[in-house]
């Protein structure tokens, strides 16, 4: 009985932790795809930038700054944000900016970009996967009772997700930039007439979205792989979450991440992994057939 209870507890945590992973990886895309309507197929590669940043910093701290070994990870998250955001800025300026009115071309262009970036990672870091040495405080598990193990890296990803989600919410709702972003996305012409430099808003929004992907990538080094194609492991799930939630709604993204994660985690426990995935995807398709606009849709005058 105690065993089954502790398994139940760990399974509940597992569902929550899957939820946070889905949400964290979807957050950046929710901004880029959800708010801006840009289908960024290279989103996974921005995750990879974050992951490699963590790896490089881990190497550097081992070699040059041993005193930093247990804290480099927090720095890595910041650097990942800046770096991925910076690359995002560049990509927006050189590529995406010219394609805002041609969404299907964006799709192809960013897909091409993702292939180019993957091969660039491969040339720079080698085709083999690498592993960042994680600080000790991120390893192991918390044991509230002897038979329950709550992984610390899972808790960490949760905390980070909570923090970033709040930040994005606060940023979009209450800051000047956030207001401009929403204004631009809802009615570009009016926003521009009201004196908002929409081009600059686009750039910043895109960069922030990419930066968030970088942070997710850094966080995922604790639970996943770091290789040239690691990011592409997440891209399908990421789009799934954003589309299912209703592209323009952040609340929708959260709700959909929660729904998908819980369905997945629960079904996985009672059937095989592949069948669980089939069931989850079928449910999503069914719901999207009834509500093509996703779970939550922003009411805008068409």
């Amino acid at each position: 009985m105690t065993i089954s209870f502790s398994i139940w507890m760990m399974q509940a945590f597992n569902g929550l932790s899957t939820f946070c992973v889905l949400l964290l990886m979807a957050l950046g895309l929710a901004i880029i795809f959800g708010q801006m309507g840009v289908i960024n197929m290279a989103h996974g590669e921005f995750l990879t930038i974050g992951a490699y940043t963590t790896y490089l910093l881990s190497q550097a701290s081992e070699r040059f700054f041993p005193w930093m070994a247990s804290w480099y990870f927090l720095l890595a998250i910041l650097v990942a944000f800046v770096l991925a955001g910076g690359v995002g800025l560049l990509v927006e300026h050189l590529l995406v900016r010219h394609l805002y009115r041609r969404p299907l071309d964006t799709l192809l262009a960013t897909w091409g970009l993702s292939l180019i970036m993957q091969q660039a990672f491969r040339s720079a870091f080698g085709a083999r996967e690498v592993s960042a040495t994680l600080p000790n405080w991120l390893m192991g598990s918390v044991k509230p009772t002897p038979s329950i193990d709550i992984p610390i890296n899972g808790l960490f990803v949760m905390a980070l997700t909570l923090l970033l989600t709040c930040a994005v919410f606060f940023g979009l709702l209450y800051t000047r930039l956030g207001v401009r972003v929403r204004a631009t996305m809802q009615n570009r012409l009016m926003a521009s007439a009201a004196g908002i430099n929409t081009g600059r808003v686009d750039k910043l929004t895109f960069a922030v979205g990419c930066g968030l992907a970088g942070v997710a990538g850094a966080a995922f080094t604790t639970i996943g792989s770091t290789g040239p194609t690691s990011g592409s492991l997440y891209i399908v799930d990421t789009f799934l979450v954003v589309v299912f939630g209703g592209a323009e709604s952040l609340i929708g993204t959260i709700a959909s991440a929660f729904g998908i994660a819980q369905t997945q985690a629960t079904t996985e426990f009672f059937m095989t992994g592949s069948m669980a995935k089939v069931l989850t995807l079928s449910l999503v398709i069914l719901i999207l057939m009834v509500r093509p606009q996703g779970l939550f849709a922003l009411k805008v005058r068409r």
Partner: protein, 423 residues
């Protein structure tokens, strides 16, 4: 009007997106080798057409190398490319084959199976290569097989694989499934007294076939019990539920065949959830030193792997091989099972050619069975008439530094690609 175009910008592409994502998902699956395999017997129908002369000059013989240098499989195939080049360099330094220096034409299969077939055809029809060293996934091998049989080429294939194949035109230098699986399970029962087993795999042909063999062996021969058998899609990254199932079942041993990026997630999450070598016996057949680089030794320390080769093997052949490899590719490079099997290819071909005293494919094939290689880093191998190798199985235990410590070594095992009672 304008607001309409603006909002539809976000809407209409959804359909297209769904289609494209679907393609990506399917592509990922194929990338790791889950394409349905054509019948191995399809070969018999095509008549060998040895009409074209091989590319041999008075001083040179041309061979081909066909691996993925780009794309998702580059992660695995890089080691094989390097090892085959090293072997060929060494052969050339030693005077070549029958007095001919070996010239390599390298083609990139780019992790795409039709590309593999196309490049195989190019290497055979246009370049007239005397032999080809290449392929890694079963899917790529199945794609080039009809080409090699039709054009009567010669392929040395380095990966351990699921068996159920035998072709006149292919030599398999890695282990087939029974060689890798049976002795490892026997060892688990004997030394770890394992009676209950939990089988795990990525969801495609190799893990499924291998686990099928493992289950038959556990149930019929070892009289043990399989308490769980689970498959996860390739690229799966969340293993929490699976880990909880393992905890609920408490099997004596976990038998794991997870591949690719999933591997890293699986072992990192196992460790985080408190499942370590201290409280759980785990044996894998899919983690070589290459994969350990990505997983990190600290995340797997104490777990076991069953393969025919580990970099840490303590014999003179291997010490020379490891030193030469590191000399050529840097001190940090690691060597896994498949890399070593790749290294055997050129040497086995050389031995076949020298025994036949000819580069002609038919003669090399006829001369090959029975050839022994005493200089192999894994010790000693011998070519079986079924074109696979006699080899030993070793069990290694993961160390903190990402290397294996060998804890068990079997006798030479006869290759048996079509095992009776295991299908």
């Amino acid at each position: 009007m304008i607001s309409k175009t603006l909002t539809s910008r976000a809407r209409c592409p959804l359909t297209w997106l769904a289609i494209l994502l679907g393609c990506v998902a399917v592509g990922c699956q194929n990338a790791k080798g889950s394409t349905p395999s054509p019948a191995p017997g399809a070969a018999a129908a095509s008549a060998p057409a040895a009409a074209h002369a091989l590319a041999i000059t008075d001083t040179e013989v041309t061979v081909g190398q066909l691996h993925s240098a780009t794309g998702t499989m580059a992660i695995s195939e890089t080691g094989s490319i390097q090892a085959e080049r090293l072997a060929i360099d060494q052969i050339n330094q030693g005077g070549g084959v029958l007095g001919h220096k070996i010239k390599i034409i390298q083609e990139d299969g780019a992790s795409d199976w039709p590309t593999f077939a196309e490049k195989a055809k190019k290497l055979l029809v246009q370049d007239h290569t005397a032999s080809v060293f290449g392929c890694w996934t079963s899917a790529s091998r199945k794609a080039v097989l009809p080409v090699f049989e039709k054009e009567n080429g010669l392929l040395y294939y380095p990966t351990f694989y699921e068996g159920l194949e035998q072709s006149k035109n292919v030599f398999y230098t890695g282990q087939e499934a029974t060689q890798q699986i049976l002795a490892g399970l026997d060892w688990l029962q004997k030394t770890k007294h394992a009676k209950t087993f939990f089988l795990i795999g990525s969801d495609y042909i190799w893990p499924r076939t291998s686990n099928k063999i493992a289950r038959k062996h556990i149930e019929n021969v070892l009289k043990g019990q399989v308490v769980g058998e689970e498959y996860y899609p390739l690229g799966h990254t969340q293993f929490g539920s699976l880990i909880n199932k393992i905890k609920a079942q408490k099997p004596d041993a976990v038998y794991a065949i997870v591949v690719g990026g999933s591997n890293v997630s699986f072992y990192k999450q196992l460790k985080a959830a408190g499942v370590t070598a201290e409280n759980q016996t785990l044996l894998t057949i899919s983690v070589t030193e290459d994969e350990l680089l990505g997983i990190g030794g600290e995340n797997m320390v104490g777990f076991f792997a069953a393969m025919k080769y580990f970099q840490s093997l303590d014999n003179d052949n291997n010490k020379k091989f490891v030193a030469a490899f590191k000399d050529k590719y840097g001190p940090k490079s690691v060597i896994g099972d498949v890399t070593q099997a790749g290294y055997l290819g050129p040497w086995l071909w050389k031995a076949g050619v020298e025994k036949a005293q000819s580069f002609e494919v038919d003669k090399v094939v006829a001369a090959s069975p029975g050839i022994e290689l005493t200089t192999a880093p894994e010790g000693y191998v011998k070519i079986h008439p079924n074109h696979h190798l006699w080899s030993k199985l070793r069990v290694g235990q993961v160390q903190l530094d990402g290397q294996y410590k060998v804890v068990y070594e079997s006798e030479l095992i006869e290759p048996n690609p079509f095992p009776k009672g295991y299908q």
